[in-house]
């Protein structure tokens, strides 16, 4: 996931165009990875690029959807009658770093906002990227390895009253994928894709090369009006014009006010007014929820779970996030780690993951058993499940030639970033020290940590951080450990498997590739997977039908309602 903040689309030609070859594609993706908005105290996950999903014909057939909007699970709105009522105030843990400039930002906060204002071609109400549901597209069909046809919904209008047509899809996809001559941030998770408008309600997407994670890309690509895209970008920055259930009425730096779109194609939302507001402090968010000044709050930290659970008025919506919180070794900083697999394994055996998830992280967190997060496509649990085994760790350390645990190394943790990160790292170092390892904790904010990771004079050897994704293994891994990724060990096997996975459109073959990759990584242990983190929204019990998904931490208020 990339973020581009305040970017005005004036970027110069970066000199390198995408090519067919997978490695080059990955390098390109890597080069576009960036422009990321990172800040302390935001719970944004530094998600990587979107996965390459190969959609097989069989799958297509399976998920071919009918025309009838009423059958779709999302199109329930206020169809059962009644005017939208009430107001929902949602307190976000993450600042709104970006503006509304389409495809120029991939801040998590911006995706979550876009979801309320814009519609997408497909919807993934279960969070499973292999199970699309209709949204602006009523059906889809893969024509060949590079060509996809979508039937579009009829009678949809933008907030400004203009009718939705295939031209809008064309403008949107071509812009987002980088096919038109405009450089956008989203292009980093696409391959250039041209769109042929067959008729008003039929479009054909043609990817420049076989592109596995297409659905993952569509998951992130809101459909913007062609007229808007052709006009001045400046107005779109402040006045998003979507087809979604809400329209933006106030655009303040830390507060976004939205009004119900009474003409929404699936029926008007049942909540009249929605306010998204950034509140940095978890205790303040909780207080507001308890005092009835907010109806939903973001990122409930573990220590507050019990308070909400035990409350008569409040409840939790919790999922296991598609992100793995790892201890990431930074290659090139700590020689022992770079050269000794035994040492790496010894570290893996020195951590009590179960205790961490049971006692510290709590919620829906689960012990990590693969480099591909649970909930993502093609996830396969690996063995052995590393546990805290001091004897084995010490044995491995001796094998690595450092029975005393080796030299001191820096372990960085960002405060206010991941839930209870500091405690987790303190606990980890405690157990590491028991086997003789000598981690030295450096606590900083996320900005300082990222600066240290990527600058040449950084000093950290290991970082406690996570990278979230939409749910495709390509996104979870390619830019981290692919060629050019800072976490990459230049392992040729890893690189070629990643390239194959992105370019493969057949799900089974793709599955095999990622299976092999997961096994290989588990064996090499280039980094230390810890757990799949918890994503929990707290809200009043009066708020029903709230959709909380692990993919990009989607929090969708349609067709939720406030009960009296």
């Amino acid at each position: 996931m990339q973020v581009e903040v305040g970017w005005n689309g004036e970027r110069k030609e970066r000199g390198m165009r995408p090519h067919d070859r997978a490695n080059e594609m990955l390098e390109e993706a890597e080069s576009r990875l960036g422009r990321g908005e990172i800040s302390r105290r935001q719970f944004i996950r530094l998600t990587t690029a979107f996965g390459v999903t190969l959609a097989a014909p069989g799958f297509l057939a399976a998920c071919d959807v009918g025309d009838d909007a009423a059958e779709t699970p999302t199109a329930t709105g206020s169809a059962d009658g009644g005017e939208p009522t009430g107001s929902v105030r949602f307190l976000s843990a993450e600042n709104f770093w970006a503006d509304w400039d389409p495809y120029q930002a991939n801040a998590l906060s911006q995706f979550r906002l876009n979801k309320q204002i814009y519609d997408y071609l497909l919807d993934f109400p279960t969070g499973d990227l292999s199970k699309p549901e209709p949204m602006l597209a009523t059906s889809t069909e893969q024509i060949d390895e590079r060509t996809w046809e979508f039937k579009l919904r009829e009678g949809v209008v933008f907030h400004d009253g203009a009718a939705f047509t295939g031209e809008d899809v064309k403008a949107s996809i071509e812009r987002a994928s980088g096919a038109t001559d405009v450089e956008v941030v989203h292009a980093g998770s696409w391959v250039p894709t041209t769109v042929e408008v067959v008729d008003d309600l039929t479009v054909r997407l043609k990817t420049e090369r076989p592109f596995g994670p297409l659905f993952s890309a569509l998951f992130n690509t809101q459909i913007v009006s062609a007229a808007d895209l052709a006009g001045k970008a400046a107005s779109l920055k402040n006045q998003p014009n979507g087809t979604g259930p809400w329209r933006l009425v106030a655009n303040e730096p830390t507060r976004k006010v939205m009004d119900a779109n009474m003409d929404y194609w699936a029926g008007p939302p049942r909540i009249k007014e929605m306010i998204w507001e950034f509140v940095q402090d978890p205790q303040t968010r909780l207080s507001a929820l308890q005092a009835g000044q907010a109806q939903a709050i973001d990122r409930v930290p573990p220590e507050h779970l019990e308070i909400i659970e035990s409350s008569d008025d409040l409840m939790l919506a919790s999922v296991t996030g598609i992100e793995n919180v790892n201890l990431w070794w930074r290659p090139g900083r700590f020689e022992l780690r770079d050269t000794s697999p035994e040492f790496r394994k010894a570290v893996a055996w020195s951590i009590d993951r179960a205790a961490l998830t049971e006692n510290l992280v709590l919620g829906q967190s689960a012990v990590a058993d693969s480099f591909v997060p649970a909930g993502a496509l093609y996830y396969e649990p690996q063995s052995p499940a590393y546990t805290f085994d001091p004897d084995q760790a010490k044995e491995l350390l001796t094998a690595a030639g450092v029975p005393d645990g080796g030299p001191e190394f820096e372990l960085w943790v960002a405060s206010g970033f991941l839930p209870r990160a500091e405690q987790v790292v303190q606990s980890i170092t405690d157990s590491m020290r028991q086997v003789g390892l000598k981690p030295k904790i450096i606590t900083t904010d996320i900005a300082g940590m990222v600066d240290d990771i990527f600058s040449d004079d950084g000093t950290g050897a290991m970082y406690h951080i996570s990278w979230a994704s939409s749910g495709d293994p390509n996104g979870a891994l390619a830019q981290l450990i692919g060629p050019g990724g800072v976490w990459s060990d230049k392992d040729k096997r890893v690189h070629s498997l990643l390239a194959d996975g992105a370019a493969e459109t057949d799900p089974d073959r793709r599955g095999q590739i990622y299976s092999e990759l997961q096994q290989h990584l588990w064996e090499q242990t280039p980094h230390i997977p810890l757990y799949y983190s918890d994503f929990t929204i707290g809200h009043t019990k009066k708020l029903v039908d709230l959709r909380v998904l692990p993919n990009q931490f989607e929090t969708y208020f349609y067709p939720a309602s406030i009960q009296e």
């Binding site: 970027r11 990321g36 935001q42 530094l46 509140v279 303040t284 207080s287 005092a291 990527f454």
Partner: protein, 308 residues
């Protein structure tokens, strides 16, 4: 009088100038490269460089400083690094909220301080005095953030009497103001008590009594007017501080003021926004103290008349 005004203005400008300069350089020398921080990990140097160009942080420090001052002279505070909103608009939007909070706090705090301070001074070591001093000692030892949290817990969550956060109406003022008042009053009460005690021991108060003036008049006209002077100075300083940084209170109560604005900006290394927030705080500080000087002069003829 004109010369005096010019002189004061020059002094104030100098102070504000010093403050913004300090912030400018502290941020740029200490806070790292915002372009790097704004970009996702692994971003190629070329892109980072473009961001630097866009933000203007690629230029030599002194050139940046010159541009900053030139913009400032035109009243342009720049645009936010995130989202491109005008810093001036953001600051001007936040300012009234902080000012309202400060104003209410000052009125409440000085009223309480006058009442308690005088009550304590009238009978030194009496029951009232001792109770007030206990309050002063305890209130002074209470961390503001801790107090704020406890107040919210009791009055908003358990009793549900008052809003926990935000500025939504008159009720919203109660808890933030209470927090600030409890942290402010110890100083004010001590000052009032002290200056009242001092005034009461002055010759002219004794002389007023010797002339047979009623005790109430001695206290309220002769004592209070002279005792009010140090309070005015102190309140001025306090007002400056509240305006400049009720950071904790705004943070805890999600109060949309300058303090929260600045803290949020600091968290995201949003230099223009931080600079804007600090600038407003510094200007507020010097202005308030200027006003205090005027009030002081109005109250004290010795200053008013000698100056003219």
């Amino acid at each position: 009088m004109l010369g005096q005004a010019l002189r004061r203005t020059a002094q104030m400008t100098l102070v504000v100038f010093g403050v913004v300069t300090l912030v400018f350089f502290v941020l740029r020398l200490a806070a790292g490269d915002p372009a790097r921080l704004l970009n996702q990990p692994g971003t190629p140097e070329t892109i980072v460089q473009q961001v630097r160009e866009r933000l203007g942080t690629d230029r030599p420090l002194l050139v940046q400083y010159g541009h900053y001052l030139a913009d400032l002279a035109r009243g342009d505070l720049g645009v936010s690094f995130h989202g491109g909103q005008s810093v001036r608009d953001a600051v001007l939007e936040a300012l009234p909220n902080t000012a309202a909070l400060a104003l209410v706090t000052i009125v409440v705090a000085s009223t309480i301080a006058l009442a308690l301070g005088i009550a304590a001074a009238l009978r030194p070591n009496g029951l009232v005095d001792r109770s007030v001093l206990v309050y002063v000692a305890v209130a002074q030892a209470t961390p503001a953030f801790w107090l704020a949290v406890v107040l919210v817990l009791v009055f908003s969550i358990n009793l549900r009497w008052l809003p926990a956060i935000d500025l939504t109406g008159p009720k919203s003022f109660v808890l933030p103001v209470a927090t600030l008042v409890i942290t402010l009053t110890p100083v004010l009460i001590r000052t009032v008590r002290q200056s009242f005690l001092e005034t009461l021991s002055e010759d002219h108060v004794r002389a007023a009594r010797a002339r047979g003036l009623p005790e109430r008049r001695v206290l309220l006209v002769h004592g209070l007017k002279a005792a009010a002077l140090p309070l005015v100075t102190l309140i001025g300083l306090q007002a400056g501080f509240i305006l400049a940084g009720s950071y904790v209170v705004e943070f805890v109560f999600n109060w949309p003021g300058i303090g929260k604005l600045t803290l949020d900006a600091l968290a995201s290394r949003n230099f223009p926004m931080i600079q804007g927030g600090v600038l407003v705080a510094a200007v507020a500080f010097v202005l308030v103290n200027f006003v205090v000087d005027l009030v002081y002069a109005a109250l004290d003829p010795r200053i008013r008349l000698r100056a003219s």
